[in-house]
Amino acid sequence: MTTPIVDMRNIKKHFGHVIALNGVSFDVRAGECHCLLGDNGAGKSTFIKTMSGVFRPSEGEMRVEGKPVIFESPRDAMTAGIATVYQDLAMIPLMSVSRNFWMGREPEKGIWPLRTLDLAKADAITMTEMRKMGINLRGPDQAVGTLSGGERQTVAIARAVYFGAKVLILDEPTSALGVRQTANVLGTIDRVRKQGIGVVFITHNVRHAMAVGDRFTVLNRGQTLGTALRGEVDAPGLQDMMAGGQELADLEGSLGGTI
């Protein structure tokens, strides 16, 4: 197989005396959707935040296209082509779709000190990109706050894809959505994957994962319980892996927490 775009090996992350991640290995290749499953508090968000440069791992190694890297900030990860759509979306509801789309990477024109936003370009590209994702905006100046949850997800995904993401990390994009909006977002994930982008899809919903996933990794109490290929595992199997870990944790808890 090809080298993974991002390869995380034996990642550990401690917050003071809390061990959030205790040796997690995970990789993602171009054009695949790798699902990261786990119950609430399993460490999914913590893990992808180390992947996207928000946290620095306490231990472990990260490689991007085979080369070891250390991300000092989310900017470094973005430069390396790792884009993240956080659970809280990083969208500002009061601002327009276009301004949100370009936030932090605004196109400019003119010469300093009179450099201004290239609003015409920004608006036109925003409208095109949103249409590609199947969202018809009233106008580029429509506020994000007027969009539904699923549409907001799609704006965030469209933004990441447009800015040349090689890996797209989605943190529980479907957890707050209704049935139809979930279907839309899953459709978007499929479309993005077909463009050759590696997708990391975080969820605790096994059915959502089974719908689009190529590989599945289950995270529990900061550890991986293994990675399975599509076809090697079915929904009840994954469910068992998530729940089994929970039972194990309960057992360990009753034995006096000697982890």
């Binding site: 989310p74 979306l89 009061l94 018809n136 009233r138 429509q142 007027t146 539904s148 949850g149 139809r180």
Partner: protein
């Protein structure tokens, strides 16, 4: 925060909006309506009092311009998600500092002015830095600066001069190149010509006989207009403006996409201090003196203008043009009641009512625009 899901209603909600509605539904609408209302009202009750003759117009224009100067600073800062309650104290402090430097220590006026600007903007930066570092609300941090600066102002003034008023700035301004940038007037020739042509009234007696009653546009008004245009341009047309909105809208979201939120906020605190200094320099040059009690309550007046102008107190939303209209409303009401010979205490009743009406209207409009619930 507003991440609510609304089932499968997604696409159907996007309707076409008529151009008229589109034109009307804007953050400044409350300010525009308020301004029109206030002019109609005073046109009716004070129309024949001289309020709309040249002298009267200049009177409320200058007062409005004063509010405008500090409102622009407060507006950008509020949109970036912070408050500055030390604006009023900063006005007193910067005036006294400049007067001490020039009158007491004998520095050339231009140097005293530049040093005052630099020092006050540094204080603004410290305000911002403290807010960022401590994570405390800027309301608290700048409330502390409000007391510290006012106390220092009175102490400094008394220490150097044994009084709380320092006069003699006019003498120091003689022949200085920077003084007129704050204390001068422009278009004096034009006004003389308009006076000669009989368009505006002229003095008929005294040593100014023949001169027009309004002899030019004070630099304060020029500063106000320049600051409003600059602020509006910065906010709506530049990358930095986008960052200002983003920092106030959701600082964490902005950081995720690489917006230098801390730098933006600190710069806005410095800009607020800059505006306070412009205000006080114009005032000191006009009066020829500085006083330790200047600028009392100005921080609240600035915030009121900004809020009347449609800005959201919690940041992320607002308009400099709106804030400027808020300043006009404030200035016209304050001076208009004076022209109408009304009880000056009524000013407050009136202002409170306008504030309430404007804010209710702004909230309604904002909900339509942003889909806030």
């Amino acid at each position: 925060m507003t991440d609510t899901t609304s089932g499968a209603a997604g696409d159907e909600r996007i309707k076409d909006v008529s151009p008229l509605r589109r034109m009307l539904i804007r953050p400044e609408l409350g300010g525009i309506c308020g301004t029109i209302l206030v002019f109609i009202l005073f046109g009716l009750i004070a129309g024949d009092s001289g309020m709309f003759a040249a002298e009267g117009v200049m009177n409320w224009t200058v007062v409005s311009a004063q509010f405008m100067v500090i409102a622009v600073g407060a507006c950008l800062l509020m949109i970036s998600g912070e408050f500055d309650l030390s604006t009023g104290s900063m006005i007193g402090f910067s005036g006294v500092l400049m007067a001490i430097l020039s009158v007491q220590l004998g520095w050339p006026l231009w140097l005293a002015i530049l040093a005052t600007f630099a020092f006050c903007m540094a204080i603004g930066a410290v305000n911002g830095w403290l807010v960022i570092r401590t994570g405390l609300p800027s309301f608290i941090v700048t409330l502390a600066s409000l007391y510290i600066l006012r106390g220092l102002t009175i102490w400094g003034s008394v220490y150097f001069t044994r009084q709380t008023i320092i006069s003699g700035v006019s003498d120091r301004a003689e022949g200085d190149w920077l003084g007129p940038v704050f204390g001068g007037k422009i278009l004096t020739g034009l006004f003389q010509w308009m006076g000669d042509a009989g368009w505006i009234a002229t003095f008929t007696r005294g040593n100014r006989a023949g001169q027009p009653v309004v002899d030019g546009i004070p630099m304060l008004v020029v500063w106000a207009i320049v600051l409003v245009i600059f602020g509006h341009w910065l906010l709506t047309r530049t990358k930095f403006g986008n960052w200002v909105f983003a920092s106030g809208g959701d600082a964490q979201a902005a950081r995720y996409v690489g917006v230098p939120v801390n730098r933006v906020k600190i710069l806005m605190f410095m800009f607020s201090a800059f505006c306070a200094c412009v205000f006080s320099m114009c005032q000191v040059m006009e009066f020829g003196s500085a006083a330790a009690d200047r600028g009392l309550l100005k921080e609240f007046e600035a915030i009121i203008c900004v809020v009347i102008g449609g800005a959201l107190l919690t940041g992320g939303y607002g308009s400099v043009i709106g804030a400027a209209l808020g300043a006009v409303i404030f200035g016209v009401v304050q001076q208009g009641l004076f022209f109408a010979n009304a009880e000056s205490s009524l000013f407050r009743v009136f202002l409170g009512m306008i504030l309430l009406i404007a804010v209710i209207m702004n909230t309604y409009i904002r909900r339509i625009i942003t889909g806030e619930r």
